[in-house]
Amino acid sequence: MKNKDLLDEVAQRSGLPSDVTAALADRLITLITNHLSLDEPVSIQGFGTFEVKKRKERLTVNPTTGAKWLIPPKWVPAFKVGPTLKEKIKQLNA
């Protein structure tokens, strides 16, 4: 499902015009991003939790040249599936 399909579907269900839906979706994502950048996890009931994780710095070796590189630490967004959705995925599998 692409972004457009998603917005169309949401517009249809909520009864809002599609341009309004697109703007709302945009704002919603900005909100989530802002919360995350403040290191605040965003939890949606029945869906899951968006959170920020810290990747530690690490050493890598280029296999051909043997050059060692230090990869700096970074923060990455992550998503954790909620139990309800997890159960549904499990049933889909069966």
């Binding site: 499902m1 692409k2 972004n3 399909d5 998603l6 579907e9 949401v10 269900r13 909520s14 809002l16 839906t21 703007a23 709302l24 979706a25 704002r27 919603l28 994502i29 909100l31 989530i32 991003t33 919360h35 995350l36 950048s37 403040l38 290191d39 605040e40 996890p41 965003v42 939890s43 949606i44 009931q45 869906f47 899951g48 939790t49 050493l59 070796v61 280029n62 296999p63 051909t64 040249t65 043997g66 050059a67 060692k68 590189w69 230090l70 700096p72 630490p73 923060w75 990455v76 967004p77 992550a78 998503f79 599936v81 959705l85 997890k86 549904k88 995925i89 499990k90 889909l92 599998n93």
Partner: protein, 425 residues
Amino acid sequence: MQKKRLLQDLVDGLVVEGDLKKKDAEEFVRHFFKVIEEGLLADRLVKVNGLGVFKLIEVEARSSVDVNTGEPFLIKEHLKLSFIPDTPLKEKINKPFESYEPVQTTSEPINMKETIPDNQTDTPSVNEEPQAPTAPQKPLDLGLDEEDPFEPKEGEERQPTIQEMLAALKEENERQTPTESGKRNRSIVVIILIALGLLFLAGLIYWSMESNRKARQERALKEAMMEQLAVEVEPLTGQPTQDALDSLSILAAQENAAAVKQPSQPSTAKPVEKPVVKPAPKPTATTAKPAATTAKPATTTAKPAATTPKAVSTTTKPTTTASKPVMTTPKTTTTSTTTKTTSRPSEVTVKTGDRLTLLSEKYYGHKVFWVYIYLENKAKIADPNNVTAGTTIVLPKAHPTMMDPTNAEAVKKAEGIQQRILAQF
């Protein structure tokens, strides 16, 4: 970790920003995630611009062990939700750490080590090998002088020997310079290369001379002032000159080795041309004296390196090139390959990052000859594309025609074998 934000916070944010009712906003957010969920279950992939991609990926069945009972059991294949964040989101989150970039930690990457010395240090390194055991031992008088001046007492007598050495070096060098003007162009390029590499040696000689002279001055001064303390002074003054002589002795040893190898040349290769040609006025030799004098040991030592292996391995190559001064030769492919083969050990332990092709290129001059290495070590190598590090492999003897990188037919044949081998993997 800060306060957890819930759906209600998102709704509030939407209402504050927008001009819609709270109820509509809440409905919108609920629908939004509901549609994502349904799309995920239906298509197994939902793409949300600005947020990322939600994907269901299959996890293969695997066996595990019950932690409590220790009984093995099978984890069934299942689906796993994976979330790949969009770049804008990723960048926004990582803003505090944005400025960090990967840094290379070691100052000496391995490949640099291997590539740089190839044309320059290769030749000096070869002279370490005992090249001409059969040659008559005809050491220069300088070489013999080395034995006794080692005593720290005879600082005075050593000075002439150094000068003698330098003079002899210069003489030798002038005799060595190639006369053929046709070879000039190539030789000049090589001279420049060698001169660069051996400027360091020039500095060494200069330094040793300097310190020797200083020591001498000091010694003379002290002797004049207090002759009765000479016994104490002598070991002191001898100390720096000893150091200087150590470094010089290295040079002298090289010179000695060169002298030993020189007679070997006519004996191994046919004496078509005499290596000693009439002295030629060479611009570099006269203008840059230290450089020219030091360039000498390298040229003489590199020469036997090119000649002796040729007599052993590639018999097809003309020996006339061998007896020419090496100044001209390193450009030709024959010498470059032969110097490569000289340094080939009979066995090699595979390191991390080694490939059969790389080894082949290094030791046989062409990467396609890895097939012969592989065939020789078939028992040890499970997969030629992925040789385990630490495996010791035998390097087969280079066949003069079959493994000649300049021979197109040999290369073609090896390529044929390569195709057959690769078809099995």
